[in-house]
């Protein structure tokens, strides 16, 4: 009889338990450093030129990459240094959430991940010394534990030379920790710094959330906002973003009038309560760092309460056109930073993008912003591989990153790493939701802010 009585209680608890564990893969994973030599006093070996800023064709700054010998640096080759590299192929593993709470459109992702490499093989095969790049993709389901699992698969089963995180802070952190334990280069767009700053093989190619805080404050000031609300996911990874916004606001003379954390799976009552509190606090702008799904939920609840503040946040996912596609008209007042501009200005920055899409994508798959994100990331990686030279290995690659002056793909603000700082983003673009456009999309309102 007791078990019968307990069953109704156990079922929902089991359901919740099954849906939890989102952060379990992040914490508790001990980092084992990759082989690292003492930092060199000079950044270039004797007799060789220091690698300069490596630029994409068409970009302003150019310095020929050192193709004679791998750059010296703190990394020393370990076991499996050249895994995933052969005379004719480099294997790159990408993980991203195409299912789960914050999905990225899978079709766009599947098409976009290869376009740049196809274009490069045809237009400039010498850039990668005659090698092709084979991209392996795995869905991490927006789950850190799954992210570690798929990263291991890509390395051990597919022989990936390096790993790339396509989105999701907790998933990126979890997989980057695995990569660092195994000496595998790991690149992603900037997310959090906590949990990543000490990882030797992790590199952020765009501004982290915290680094975007001052830019967000500047955007608020440009719009005449003096007081704003702050809504951030309750994952520990975002604590530093909350702190950074607090500091940046104080420095800019702005006030946080209402602040709250919201759960990753915020139910309707929670969303409505947050919106009501924001409305009652009189916030004309809200800085938020959540998934697109929760952002759209908040914006819709706001619209239902006749409350339409400026919704502002760091890049990348909330600024995707998928958000305007199904979030309009509620997201009309959304303004988001992004490492790339949107399609409206890409021709002036990189005319190859749409050309390549027309050439290599299926006829019914026009160029989109997911494709642009992937194109930009791959283009930056292409420059890094080129700068490393023909003798490609994991240590040589990472040495090149930390000793080069920077990489300018013409779309991102220049990416600059040092031995001590693997957060390479230097600027961002500003995107503004346009629900009147057909199709509904974000438009680029400012380029390269913060990049000097």
């Amino acid at each position: 009889m007791k078990s019968v009585r307990l069953l109704p209680l156990l079922v929902p608890i089991a359901l919740v338990a099954a849906s939890c564990g989102q952060k379990a893969g992040v914490a508790g994973s001990e980092s084992v450093d990759v082989p690292v030599a003492p930092a060199p006093e000079t950044t270039a070996p004797a007799g060789t030129d220091a690698p300069g800023v490596t630029s994409a064709p068409g970009a302003d700054t150019t310095a020929p990459p050192d193709t004679e010998a791998p750059a010296a640096g703190p990394f020393v080759p370990g076991d499996g240094d050249t895994d995933g590299v052969s005379d004719d192929e480099i294997v790159i593993g990408i993980h991203a959430p195409v299912t789960g709470a914050s999905p990225i459109p899978q079709t766009s992702f599947d098409i976009g991940k290869d376009i740049y490499w196809q274009f490069l093989v045809e237009s400039a095969p010498e850039q990668l010394f005659g090698r092709n790049v084979r991209v392996v993709f795995r869905d991490d389901t927006f789950n850190p534990q799954q992210a570690v699992q798929v990263c291991r698969e890509m390395v051990e089963d597919e022989g990936a030379f390096m790993l790339v995180g396509g989105g999701g802070a907790d998933q990126i952190t979890a997989c980057a920790q695995y990569a660092s334990e195994n000496g595998i280069p790991y690149l992603s767009a900037g997310v959090n710094e906590e949990g990543l700053a000490d990882l030797e093989s992790y590199f952020a190619t765009t501004l982290t959330y915290s680094a975007q805080a001052p830019l967000l404050m500047a955007q608020l000031q440009e719009r005449g906002i003096t007081e704003f609300g702050l809504v951030v996911f309750d994952t520990p990874s975002f604590d530093e973003f909350v702190a950074a916004v607090g500091s940046a606001a104080e420095e800019a003379g702005l006030t946080i009038g209402y602040e709250t954390r919201i759960s990753k799976t915020a139910a309707e009552p929670e969303q409505l309560s947050v919106v009501q509190a924001l409305k009652e606090s009189g916030m004309e702008a809200v800085v938020l760092n959540t998934s697109p799904v929760v952002f759209i939920g908040l914006a819709n609840q706001g619209l239902n309460q006749s409350y339409t503040p400026i919704w502002m946040g760091p890049g990348v996912t909330s600024g995707l056109n998928a958000v305007t596609n199904f979030g309009c008209p509620a997201v009309e007042t959304g303004v988001f930073l992004s490492p790339t501009p949107n399609l409206d200005v890409i021709d002036s920055l990189d005319p190859d993008f749409k050309t390549a899409y027309a050439q290599f994508a299926p006829a019914d798959a026009p160029a989109d912003d997911i494709g642009l994100q992937l194109w930009s990331l791959n283009k930056a990686i292409g420059l890094m591989l080129e700068a490393t030279g023909e003798d490609l290995g994991r240590a040589a690659f990472m040495n090149t990153l930390v000793t080069s002056e920077g990489f300018d793909n013409g779309i991102y603000a220049p990416v600059e790493f040092t031995v001590d700082d693997h957060f390479g983003g230097t600027g961002a673009h500003v995107l503004d939701a346009d629900c009147t456009a057909d199709p509904k999309q974000f438009k680029t309102v400012e380029q390269f802010v913060g990049a000097g």
């Binding site: 009889m1 209680l9 079922v11 009552p269």
Partner: protein, 318 residues
């Protein structure tokens, strides 16, 4: 209404009065409104859960996806130019058809199987439905139009209540009463209860238990579909699996809280869960709890109720 139910009702009312008083003192009166407007959807899904549980003793994990199928159908029909009213009708029929197929293909072959096997089977149906939606929509969200455009029909404690919300609350209240009467006053309703408690005896008096099962599952599917087509458009958009991810767990909680055998209990449970979620999300005292305080508080309340009253607020003892 027997003594047990009367006691449950008194306890429920007492909790409601205490809750309202506490919320008032905490300056949380808005949470009552937020809880009622959002908890109504949980109540409607919970009605379907209770219906299946009353008739067959099964926790139906596919209940949310009866609504999932309906909301996808509503989107597909309306975006193809079908008038909204006809689209809603089509969506309800699609939900009912899905319930019918679930009963005929999954439930009926497992009629003699242990209930836990049927429970797992319903979870399988839900996962299959979600996977199909993900495939159909590339796992992306879609905008969904509402039936009634007015968003501020009335304003209570500063919370605007839309026509769509009023439709939802009204539907829930009417269904809870109508279904309650159906199961106590009609031959068919009594036959369903009889079939769940004494299937052999029910067959012996000439009632087809299997046919009753089909009827019950289709009715439960209709409730799930109703919940989806009324509640989801209020949020402006839907994603594949939204009914399971967003509504099923609170609805299960509501059903258990109200009493798994009580249809009015599902109604009360839904509203209570909505209110507790709202309070836990906004009240100052919960803000320092790490993680998701709303879920934690809801389950603490559930635990407390079940310790004091294992059959739920309005349910009958097993």
């Amino acid at each position: 209404m027997n003594d047990q139910q009367r006691r449950g009702l008194v306890i429920g009312l007492a909790i409601a009065i205490v809750l309202i008083a506490v919320l008032w003192l905490m300056d949380q009166e808005q949470s009552i409104v937020i809880g009622i407007v959002s908890g109504s959807a949980y109540g409607l899904v919970a009605l379907g859960l209770v219906l299946i549980y009353k008739s067959s003793g099964v926790f139906n994990f596919a209940q949310g996806e009866f609504g999932g199928v309906a909301i996808c159908t509503l989107y597909l029909l309306h975006s193809s130019g079908v008038p909204y009213g006809l689209s809603v009708l089509g969506a309800l029929l699609a939900g009912m058809l899905f319930g019918f197929l679930t009963e005929r293909i999954v439930i009926r072959p497992l009629f003699e199987a242990p209930r836990v096997i049927v429970l797992v089977a319903t979870a399988g149906v839900a996962l299959l439905a979600i996977a199909l939606q993900q495939w159909l929509f590339d796992n992306q969200g879609r905008p969904i139009a509402r039936a009634f455009p007015q968003r501020d029909r009335i304003t209570i404690f500063g919370v605007q209540v839309s026509d769509q919300r009023l439709w939802l609350i009204g539907t829930l209240a009417v269904l809870a009463v109508v279904l309650g009467l159906f199961f106590t006053r009609t031959n068919l309703g009594l036959a369903i209860i009889g079939a769940s408690q004494e299937p052999t005896a029910t067959e012996l008096v000439g009632i087809s238990v299997r046919r009753l099962s089909t009827f019950t599952w289709v009715l439960a599917a209709l409730l799930g579909a109703l919940a989806a087509v009324i509640a989801v458009p209020e949020t402006g958009q839907f994603t594949p699996g939204v009914m399971t991810a967003g509504y099923l767990i609170p609805a299960f909680t509501a059903a258990v809280l109200g009493g798994m055998t009580s249809l009015p209990g599902a109604f009360v449970g839904g509203l209570l869960v909505g209110i507790i979620y709202a309070v836990a999300s906004s009240a100052e005292i919960f803000q320092d709890i790490p993680g998701t305080p709303s879920t934690l508080v809801v389950f603490l309340v559930l635990l407390g109720v079940l310790i004091v009253r294992p059959q739920g607020l309005l349910g009958k003892p097993a």
